[in-house]
Symmetry: C2
Subunit: 70 residues, 2 copies
């Protein structure tokens, strides 16, 4: 995967799982991998939806439609 | 949602959907919302799994187990 998402953000998200939890560095990397995979899946669907609607630009409605129909 | 993920990263991910696509700002925000929601869901499961394993630290195996069982 592309290492697009920052690990500091992964830590913030993982700490939202419980008020009293610590987070290992490999756990942050595993979350990054998971979220990038989910994001790219959604991006492909959103891009197809925008083309389907006769556009060359992904709009919020494409992302929301793709998310709803997952 | 917490606005944890940077919008520039959302743009990079959305552009992976297709080689020839543009991306609106609200689309980036919609992807951020989707991924933060997915991430927090996973973080809750991973935190429970770490406690279940007698730990106070989320490890990569917790994140991977949670992702596999989604």
């Amino acid at each position: 995967m592309g290492k697009i998402l920052p690990l500091a953000a992964m830590e913030k998200i993982l700490k939202k799982g419980s008020s009293d939890i610590r987070v290992s560095d490999p756990a942050k990397e595993a979350l990054r991998e998971y979220l990038e995979e989910k994001g790219i899946e959604l991006a492909k669907a959103a891009a197809e939806l925008s083309v389907h609607a006769g556009r060359k630009t992904i709009k919020a409605e494409d992302v929301k439609f793709a998310a709803k129909n997952k």
